[in-house]
Symmetry: C2
Subunit: 201 residues, 2 copies
């Protein structure tokens, strides 16, 4: 049975795919909003992981709406959730999709669907939504990442991956006056990771 | 790396073990409180699944305390949580235990640790607590059970397995006047499953 895994080229979505691999036919799916062609990074990582990879293009207006939420809120939680829900809706809407997964973890706050949103997604699309890392804390994830993945890590601006933040940052830089300083203010500094290879045991 | 999976011989804990098998050295652990030798069923199921199996005996007084909670509350939630926490504490206390898992699912209410209880368990024992089915809803679990397990199902009284309820029921029947009718009243009727074999693909 095929399982579509939302894939950013980061370690969490890569590990989610690896956890499902013994039990499902995994296909990686990267969402892109037409602002930055980040799917190229995802394609490279997917190839190194050894999974088939597809890209779904969504309308740039979704990034515009998310940017407006972000500017209004002053922090990215609602905007990232909005883009993640749009991504899940898009993957669930693909024909013949029965299982959809992502790399969200036990201790993640964002992106995260509420239990009611999960039920709604599953019922409307007749899909099973699986979060393989939902029962894994940070140190358990670290053990598996260390065993299975080669990763490059760094500040958000230096590691290129296919996550929502890269396109959001780019959009805000271009569309808003003082976009550069807004990006600095709106996104908390944090470390990003991109998978560069798989360790075959 | 070894992972100890709390094992009742039911389909959820069996599936949790199967999900971890490609990534860890799985060892099944069944808890028994000395009231009913339910670990014999667990030993049979573990053998058919092909995993090593151990039994940890805990003091019968824990069942007595849980029974008192159950009688006071009128429903089994707090009592089952108490026994599950006692079981996790026991497994985490075994020497050289680094990873402990159980078969609790996304939609389970009981047994369930709070996020604070999970952090406390992991920090005090220096273990990683993994819930492999935490990101799986009922229909996703059903797909995997159907693919991997032979299961016998029936009412709680007819399917013999190694869960807390079997020993709690037996204790209450023996220790309380009108124990039979109390058991009828205190435990909601529900279907139990015991794994009888593994489907090798």
């Amino acid at each position: 049975m095929k399982a579509c895994v939302l894939f950013s080229s980061g370690k969490d979505s890569s590990l989610a795919a690896i956890l499902l691999e013994p039990f499902f036919d995994v296909e990686l799916v990267t969402i892109n909003f037409g602002i930055v062609p980040t799917y190229e990074f995802a394609r490279q990582s997917a190839s190194r992981l050894g999974f088939p990879h597809n890209v779904i293009m969504l309308h740039p207006s979704l990034i515009g709406e998310a940017a407006a939420m972000l500017v209004e809120d002053g922090f990215p939680g609602r905007a990232i959730n909005y883009l993640h829900q749009s991504a899940l809706e898009a993957v669930c809407s693909k024909p013949d999709t029965a299982i959809v997964a992502d790399g969200t973890r036990r201790d993640d706050r964002v992106p995260m669907l509420s239990p009611a949103q999960v039920r709604s997604l599953e019922d409307r699309h007749n899909v099973k939504y699986i979060r393989p890392l939902s029962g894994y804390g940070r140190s358990a994830v670290d053990v598996l990442v260390d065993a299975h993945l080669q990763v490059v890590q760094g500040e958000s601006d230096t590691v290129q991956k296919a996550d929502y933040e890269v396109e959001l940052r780019s959009f805000i830089r271009k569309q808003y006056n003082e976009g550069d300083s807004m990006v600095e203010r709106l996104f908390p500094r944090h470390t990003q990771s991109r998978v560069t290879d798989r360790k075959h045991l």
